[in-house]
Amino acid sequence: MKQNAQPPLDAEMSTTAERFSRGFALAYTGLMRALEPPFAAIQKRVGIKGMAYVFVAPNMIIFSVFVALPMILNIWYALTGSNRLMIGERPFVGLDNFSALLDCKDYLDVNSCKQDRFWRAVHNSVLFVALQVTAMVALSLVTALILNGKLRARGFFRAVFFFPVLLSPVVVALIWKWILQRDGLLNAFLMDGGFERVAFLHDASWSFFWTVFVSVWAHMGFYALILLAGLQAIPADLYEAAEMDGTPKWRVFWRITVPLLLPTLLVVVILSLIRAVQAFDEIYVLTGGGPGTATQFIVQYIYETAFANQVHLLGLAAAASLLVAVVLMVLTLLQLRISYHGKTS
């Protein structure tokens, strides 16, 4: 290789950037030299093939401590009883927790269930998931279609719909609580307009409606963004071909847009389904699960059973969370299958 003439190593001649990069290079070499002896020693012990495990080890340790271990612990908690935290103090009860959870005369009548709260939460969650996912997909699709069209200040509107996604769930809930509570903004407007005050958060149906509304409001931007990307991936000339074919607008939507958006749409459905099953934070702050248990969903049930009640029923909560995990696992597998399918076709 041809040697270029070395620039003078005079510190005064070099720019800050050069000095910085030289410093960085020096630090890097220093670090590498410092790491050399211990790693060489390890390699001497474990051999060159073993080094692979050494390098993977930090990640594996983090994974086992923060993912695998809690999962195993959760299974163990589910199989043991009492309110004790320490595993050694918990008596083994087999599947008692599961059978207690599933002890129902009629799964559609929560009052016939031994763990009526669990089943109330399940029923609420199922209804919530059905309504929320439907509303989420429909509204985010409409939003994406509008944002994909010729619109004034399109960038502005795209940002507006995405902003709630950036808010912390607690902030979202507090904002809406402030709007919806008894002396909130919305009631103030209603009363100014000569209407009666409405118990938005203390009437079971209203408060269920608002949990759906607020969670859709908070996350819709995310899904609209995914759908927007999907819409933009549809080649424009297909629409022109359809235009030349004299296709009516609604037919273009159902025969061109929807089929070509289907893989994206399915991902959105599955993602929002999983998120809806996990719904907790906004709702817990917004309604606390009330009134009564009208907006108590499955994750809140698990949390309260395990931690908020004075007697911590850890086993029951662990069993419930395993059941939810199974449901989520099925949904996730479904998503993987669909996205894999989408890629191959």
Binding site: G50, Y53, E89, R182, G290, G292, A294, N309
Partner: protein, 437 residues
């Protein structure tokens, strides 16, 4: 493969060794510092500041002990402290309200105290509250940091504005409910009656109605008296005497007070307790007149629930001597008196109760209320004291508050709620290893 892994692990451990050695060295270096005593402490009012002030004085007198006051929200004490204690972690001392429920973690200070007799003489009525069922029969497992009593606080200005006289000292729950509703209707206050959303707060009324709660060491929640207490709550929510906006805004066993609403003069009658005095002295100030009133009467009694918080030593502490010195200092008559005088709490100290405490306040509302509170302690039903000292009372509190709320919101009938309460209690006891049926 496995052998290989073993060698790898060995190599990694060799790597970690110097780090461990350094940490060990750091630990030994610390030994020369003063002994640290950590207190987990929550506050309703100014008691944290007062305590810190008193502890500063203690540290000056005892340079070999350093007391760290970890101030936490009440929720932390309720939800996280039990887990910490179960795992053998936790502070050396804690301010708790679930006196019985956590008692198996407490330390008997008797062997470490200089003057245990002082405790026997002055704290006899409250010491059993936090004595574990299988503990030492004369053990000293802590000291009350606040004696509390549930009682109603009334916005007297609203009564004056409505032109309705305050019901007298022997007035019934029915009288108060009607009067509060009438006042609220007249002055357009949104909350005629408000209760803290807590099983403890609604227990006093049930005892007054004839509820017994326990039978020996077994729970006996549902009886005629209890039922009429619960029925009151459901009826009041139905007829607007109580607003669903308060209890309905949370679910489960979650606590929901009405302090803000009371301070905003939206509540006529607020069933809370003595611990609110300092707070209202600050938040209400001179905006309106309020006072504590005698607990309304039922057929059986006119009682509130005693309660309060205790400063309890934790068994896992490494420095029981230092902990004992901190507790002995706090419980000593002059310190204890100053603490209560400044926090406006009721003392659980027999000598001080007899002597009377010269409270540091010039708020007329507070002065009037404290006088009523002291009177009310004497009026408190023995059932209430017994129930308060019952180790498993929290299980009952939880069961009643969560289930009565479901009845109030219309999810289930009151009869179903009673059935569920009993099932919850069986479940809770079972988790503690006690079979009820």
């Amino acid at each position: 493969m496995f052998k290989q892994l073993k060698t790898i692990t060995g190599g990694l451990m060799a790597l970690c060794m110097p780090v461990a050695a350094m940490m060990a060295a750091a630990n030994t270096a610390k030994a020369a510092d003063p002994t640290e005593v950590r207190i987990m402490w929550y506050s309703d009012g100014n008691e944290g500041d007062v305590m810190r002030d008193l502890l500063d004085r203690f540290e000056k007198q005892n340079p070999d002990i350093k007391v760290t006051l970890d101030r936490v929200p009440y929720k932390t004490v309720v939800e996280q402290l039990p887990a910490l204690l179960d795992s053998g972690q936790g502070p050396d001392l804690a301010r708790v309200t679930d006196l019985g429920g956590l008692s198996r973690h407490y330390l008997d200070l008797r062997p470490h105290l200089k003057n245990a007799k002082y405790f026997d003489d002055n704290f006899a009525s409250s010491l059993p509250w936090f004595r574990p069922a299988n503990g030492n029969k004369d053990g000293i497992y802590g000291v009350m940091s606040q004696l509390a009593l549930t009682l109603p606080l009334v916005n007297t200005t609203l009564f004056q504005q409505a032109g309705i006289p305050l019901p007298g000292p022997k007035a019934t729950w029915d009288d108060w409910a009607k009067a509060s509703k009438a006042v609220a209707d007249k002055v357009k206050a949104p909350y005629p009656m408000a209760f803290d959303r807590s099983g403890h707060r609604i227990s006093g009324m049930s005892i007054s109605m004839g509820g017994k709660f326990i039978d020996g060491d077994k729970p006996a929640l549902v009886d005629a008296g209890f039922k009429s207490g619960m029925k009151n709550l459901v009826d009041w929510h139905a007829n607007g005497t109580m607003s669903k906006a308060l209890w309905g805004s949370v679910g489960g066993t979650a606590y929901r007070g009405a302090t803000e609403e009371f301070a905003n003069a939206q509540v006529v009658f607020y069933m809370s307790g003595t611990w609110q005095f300092t707070q209202f002295a600050k938040t209400v100030a001179k905006n309106f007149e309020w006072q504590a009133v005698a607990n309304p009467c039922g057929p059986a009694a006119c009682t509130g629930m005693p309660g309060g918080a205790a400063l309890v030593p934790i068994k896992a502490t490494k420095n029981p001597q230092a902990v004992a010195r901190v507790v002995e200092y706090f419980a000593s008559e002059p310190v204890y008196e100053e603490y209560h005088a400044r926090t406006l709490f009721l003392p659980a100290h027999a000598g001080l109760a007899k002597k009377g405490i010269n409270y540091v306040t010039d708020d007329a509302n507070v002065k009037k209320s404290l006088a009523i509170a002291v009177e009310q302690v004497a009026q408190t039903s023995p059932i209430a004291f017994k129930f308060q000292g019952y180790e498993h009372n929290r299980i009952l509190f939880n069961a009643m508050i969560s289930r009565v709320n479901q009845a109030i919101s219309g999810e289930m009938s009151l009869d179903d709620a009673y059935t569920r309460m009993q099932a919850d209690i069986v479940e809770g006891f079972a988790a503690k290893g006690i079979k009820l049926q």
